[in-house]
């Protein structure tokens, strides 16, 4: 019955809702001890189970709290009567739920019980008495104690060390076997102290980490050495698990045993033989007479003999070819003197008689007294590595042969950046001898102005592994002048990505460089000329234009026939020339220096361009639409010239049959913006598609379509400056699409 049940019962009884007889019958039927008291604790009622549990029949109205017996707390300390759970409750106090106590019967036997006391109150809430229910827990307690006794016995009799260690390394418990292992006379000598003190210094850190790991909640095993209190070293192996300690911390519960020397030796031997067996090398032991004592699996694979066939035979008779027989006595002689033979390359014979290239490493084997009793021999098959080496030599020879036929200077350098090879061309060019180290002289023929940046660039490449690429001047001793070279090098890496070599070339670009310079100068001169010419042309042109106007105004009435016509020719010629000069000036002004690095919004630029030609648009009724346009790193003036020229053309070359419809768009392709200006004009015959972008190229005479033939050349020149392209797709009579690319 629960405490709440008891409370319900007491609540019912005094109100007379169930009869006293029924109540008593009910109480006697309950298998738990129940008694009722008044406010002072004097008994007013108890049931049969209470008599049975306590071993006596109490006196109603006299005995208090059912207590003629002695009571104790769970830890064995005596519990005074006036502090028993019922007394506490009647005084208005509280009792911990499930608190266990021990009681002694008059016959001296003891029992465990848990009590569930509750108070009875009147209508005003005053305490009028109490009711208590006692549950006998003796059987459960007994079982627990027995289990704990059994466990203690196991722990104390096991030959293994059982211990509990706190997170900080404090030894909390250790069984007798454990104390013996560490040489402690009694538990007090070590319990409460740090266990780390007995761990061998070299293992202490490992052990500490292990303990923290286990106290952190993980299981594990560890091998370590201890130095006992008597100074004795022992090798230990432990299995540990986390344990929830009574104080709430997690501690290490460990079972530890000593690994004996023999067991360790056995383990080592097993490990060793596993290594020997799994080795790719043939591992053979022999005595000083050359008789084979052991023969691993790889020996079998390498030489073809099984261990049974080989053991007991001499090395000389089994695997040394006839022409190498003199090697073995020499090897044995060296072994007897305690010398070792390292990486001795020779030839051995297989069971099938074939020969095999091997590298031998042979070491003397001593017994416990230090006397040489035999040798261990490791034989490695070097057939493959020999083949690779000769292939390597051959490929290097081929590389050199190839390098020597190249017109460039070819060189290689180590991963440290020091040049270790030059081809023939280098020695021809420099006149240097081959005696010096290859790296010795290259700076001495380098132009003084180039030395510093070449050093820096090469050093940066060597450090980063990035390709090396630089232009510099070497002194040409034949022509007695500096020549420009471009040097390039790439790193050659092994499978793991480490640089093993640099492969480089120096290519003579002097002629190319000079042509480039001349070309650039010529281009600059031409631009300068075109600029000045168009500027200076404007002056006399202005005079011609303005006077033909004056002439027309003042004298046209006095001219007749041809005179008027001629005057018109002069006026028209001057106007055309003015346009021509202005466009030419624009063309020459498209220069790289104006490219800048500002970003233009093509939508804005297009709006400006449309505003500039708004009157033309209005006159022709052109419909111009555009898709979304990007922002891009192009000078806004350049972009505006492109739009204005292409839009101007699209309107100018409109079809006489329909008003112009023009669509502008841009899309991204392969890292470029491709702009398009599509019209529904007269189109262009395919054979002229390339022509139209040239300077002064015109398809129509100026009576049909006025123009200078510079507009598209300006477009071409602008697009060229940005390394872009411009082209036209057209269907004659239907329209044209001009496209150009600009950088993103």
């Amino acid at each position: 019955m629960t405490a709440r049940g008891a409370q319900a019962l007491t609540a019912l009884a005094p109100r007379g809702e169930i009869s006293d007889t029924v109540f008593r019958g009910l109480m006697d039927a309950v298998p738990a001890a129940i008694y009722v008291t008044d406010a002072e604790g004097r008994l007013t009622y108890f049931n049969d189970a209470a008599v049975k549990l306590s071993g006596r029949t109490p006196e109603i109205g006299t005995d208090k709290w059912f207590v003629t017996w002695k009571m104790f707390l769970a830890d064995g300390t005596p519990l005074p009567h006036d502090q028993c759970p019922m007394a506490v409750v009647l005084k208005g106090g509280e009792v911990p739920a499930g608190m266990e106590c021990i009681a002694e019967r008059p016959d001296g036997t003891r029992f465990w019980f848990t009590s569930f006391p509750a108070v009875l109150r009147d209508a005003q809430g005053r305490i009028t008495g109490g009711i208590n229910l006692l549950v006998d827990t003796t059987d459960r307690r007994k079982a627990e104690i027995e289990a704990s006794e059994q466990f203690r016995t196991i722990v104390e009799t096991t030959p293994e060390c059982v211990k509990i260690v706190g997170p900080d390394g404090t030894l909390l418990f250790m069984n007798r076997s454990g104390l013996e292992m560490i040489g402690a006379s009694c538990a007090e000598a070590v319990v409460g102290k740090s266990l780390y003190d007995v761990i061998a210094p070299e293992d202490r850190e490992h052990f500490r980490e292990f303990n923290e790991m286990v106290c952190g909640g993980e299981e594990g095993a560890l091998q370590f050495e201890i130095v006992g209190l008597n100074g004795e070293r022992q090798h230990m192996e432990t299995y540990a698990a986390p344990l929830r300690h009574t104080d709430g911390t997690t501690v290490q519960l460990a079972v530890t045993h000593e690994i004996s020397e023999r067991r360790r030796a056995e383990r080592n031997a097993l490990l060793l033989s596993a290594i020997v067996d799994s080795s790719d090398d043939a591992i053979i032991s022999k005595n000083l007479d050359g008789v084979i004592m052991s023969w691993n699996k790889s020996s079998e694979r390498l030489f073809g003999y099984t261990a049974e066939e080989a053991i007991g035979q001499t090395i000389a008779s089994l695997i040394i070819p006839d022409d190498r027989q003199d090697e073995e006595p020499e090897i044995l002689a060296r072994l007897r003197m305690g010398e070792r033979v390292d990486h001795f390359e020779t030839v051995r014979r297989r069971k099938d008689g074939s020969r095999i290239d091997v590298s031998l490493t042979i070491s003397p084997v001593k017994n416990a007294q230090g006397v040489i009793i035999g040798a261990s021999k490791i034989a490695r098959d070097v057939t493959e590595s020999k083949r690779i080496r000769s292939a390597l030599l051959e490929s290097e020879a081929r590389f050199r042969q190839l390098a020597d036929t190249m017109p460039q200077i070819v060189w290689t350098a180590g991963s440290d950046g020091l040049v270790d090879y030059y081809n023939e061309r280098w020695y021809q060019f420099t006149g240097f001898g081959r005696i010096l180290p290859a790296d010795a002289n290259w700076e001495s023929i380098l132009h003084p102005d180039d030395v510093q940046r070449t050093r820096e660039s090469w050093s940066a490449a060597v450090h980063s592994g990035q390709p090396y690429n630089i232009e510099y001047r070497f002194f040409d001793r034949q022509e007695k002048r500096w020549r420009w070279f471009v040097a390039r090098a790439v790193a050659v890496r092994d499978v793991t990505g480490n640089i093993v070599k640099w492969f480089g070339t120096c290519t003579d670009i002097d002629d190319q460089k000079r042509v480039e310079d001349e070309l650039r100068r010529a281009d600059e001169d031409l631009q300068q000329f075109a600029f000045s010419a168009s500027h200076d042309l404007q002056e006399p042109l202005r005079t011609v234009k303005i006077y033909s106007e004056l002439l027309t105004r003042r004298y046209s009435g006095k001219l007749e026939g041809d005179g008027l016509k001629f005057l018109r020719y002069v006026t028209n010629g001057a106007t055309r020339m003015e346009t021509l000069v202005r466009d030419l000036l624009t063309y020459t002004q498209v220069r790289e220096s104006d490219m800048g690095d500002n970003i233009s919004n093509a939508n804005d630029v297009l709006q400006e361009s449309l505003a500039n030609i708004s009157s033309t648009i209005a006159e022709t009724g052109a419909q111009i639409t555009s898709g979304p346009l990007p922002s891009l790193p192009v000078n806004g003036t350049h972009l505006q010239q492109l739009f204005q020229n292409l839009l101007g053309n699209a309107i100018k070359y409109r079809s006489p049959e329909r008003p112009p419809i023009i669509r502008i768009g841009a899309e991204r392709q392969n890292g470029y913006w491709v702009f398009s200006v599509a019209d529904n004009g007269i189109g262009i015959e395919p054979e002229y598609k390339e022509n139209i972008f040239g300077l002064f190229k015109r398809l129509h005479n100026s009576d049909e379509y006025p123009g200078t033939g510079i507009g598209l050349a300006i477009c071409q020149r602008i697009v060229d400056r940005y390394h872009g392209r411009i082209w036209v797709e057209s269907e004659p009579g239907r329209g044209s699409i001009f496209r150009f690319t600009l950088p993103v």
Binding site: L541, R542, T543, K545, I546, L550, E578
Partner: protein, 167 residues
């Protein structure tokens, strides 16, 4: 124009509205442009004796002479092309500004070039107008109106100064 040898004295200090004959020197090497300037002045009724000088050196000589001799007629306005043979327009301007009589004389710079260097030189030497020669007749004729305004403004200032001096 023979170096402006004979400059006639103008009609004296006229009042506003009265036509007055101004003394104007034009330093311009291109006779076609000199003719256009004359046309422009005529078109806008600027009554003046226009003395045309063909190079910078002669222009400087004339300025020196006009400055040295108080009997010479007073110069009312200098029109100068910046690109002149021998000495350029700026040298002429500097000489004018260094004289006693003409340090304040209004100057109109005319130039075939649209160049910031030329414009700056004009401003540096206190030219009142910088006129780029246009390529259309009607626009060129505007020069006459500009000169007229400059002269009227100067005259008004002079009358104001005289009146104060009299009082």
């Amino acid at each position: 124009m023979e170096g402006g040898r004979a400059m006639k004295r103008g009609g004296g200090a006229g009042t506003a509205g009265e036509t007055r004959r101004f003394e104007i020197v034009l330093a311009e090497d291109n006779p076609a442009d000199a003719e256009l300037v004359r046309e422009a002045l005529e078109q806008h009724n600027v009554h003046c004796s226009l003395h045309v000088i063909c190079d910078g050196a002669q222009a400087m000589e004339l300025i020196d002479r006009l400055d040295a001799d108080p009997k010479e007629p007073r110069l009312d306005l200098l029109l100068v092309d910046m690109l002149l043979p021998k000495r350029d327009g700026e040298a002429v301007l500097r000489r004018l500004r260094s004289t006693e009589r003409y340090a304040q004389t209004p100057v109109v710079v005319i130039s075939g070039l649209s160049s910031s260097a030329v414009e700056e030189a004009a401003i540096r030497n206190a030219a009142v107008v910088y006129f780029k020669k246009p390529a259309a007749l009607e626009e060129f004729m505007r020069l006459g109106s500009i000169v007229r305004q400059v002269l009227e403004q100067t005259t008004a200032n002079e009358i104001e100064t005289d009146r104060r001096g009299a009082a």
